[in-house]
């Protein structure tokens, strides 16, 4: 079984990387971009039967720093 973990910066936390991407997109001539926020996608290949609680613990203990980041788990197949 596979799970995808999306790690994103919390609202209100400055995202310099997103800002740089925003500027670069505008530099390419794209307009109408209100904001850009960058995050991470982590794909986990897990033994069948891995509990939701375990996946959640992986996120809160290591994959995300909950001081500045939120995470969302999406199970695939």
């Amino acid at each position: 079984m596979k799970a995808r973990v999306f790690v994103t910066l919390k609202g209100g936390v400055l995202d310099p990387q997103g800002k740089a991407i925003h500027h670069a997109l505008e530099g390419l001539g794209f307009s109408g971009i209100n904001d850009v926020r960058a995050g991470k996608l982590i794909e986990l290949d897990l033994a069948d039967g891995t509990s939701d609680a375990d996946i959640d613990a992986m996120c809160s203990k290591l994959l995300a720093n909950t001081v500045i980041e939120n995470y969302r788990i999406e199970k695939v197949g």
Partner: protein, 224 residues
Amino acid sequence: MKSAVIVFPGSNCDRDLAVAIEQASGTKPIMLWHRETEIPAGVDLIGVPGGFSYGDYLRSGAMASRSPVMAAVRDAAARGAFVLGICNGFQVLTESGLLPGALMRNAGIHFVCRDVPLTVENSQSTFTARYAKGEQVVFPVAHHDGNYFADEATLDRLEGEGRVAFRYAENVNGSARNIAGILNETGNVLGLMPHPERASEPAHGNTDGARMFAGLVEGLMTAA
């Protein structure tokens, strides 16, 4: 006085830190590899050095803070050992929960590598005993992720409890309230982004950092 310096894969200021501690204390620190599970008995000062532990994978300090030796460092801090985290070491200490907040990408995106003036905010701690409150010192910084972040309540608590040890006189990385270094609740853990160990002998052209090590050694010798 017995001291130790932690060495992670990717640490690169471990030897500089060891030299600074040795010059102040007269004794070479024990170099402790990240796979160690115990801090040798009698160690009362632990240095967590700068560098790029584990290649800064995932987040700066994230992997190092979960390495076996850090569990031992947490235990040692809880029993009163002094822990000094510099640069990547500060990131490791926030990631491990020994200090509050987080260090994020510099607001200006650039890696900043130069001398920066700092204001000493607390001269009561063992780390800062040889400085005067309000004094300006210059330490070099060299980091990409030094932008200190914590929620407002945490920042207020840090300020209220006198736990901001150093503030940037010139904010080079976007840090909340210009915070460059903070103490834990019990005053035995200090994390800071600037490098006192790189300003510790005349050959460095600046000895402002040497007083941190001298003060620490004096405090620890007196306590022992």
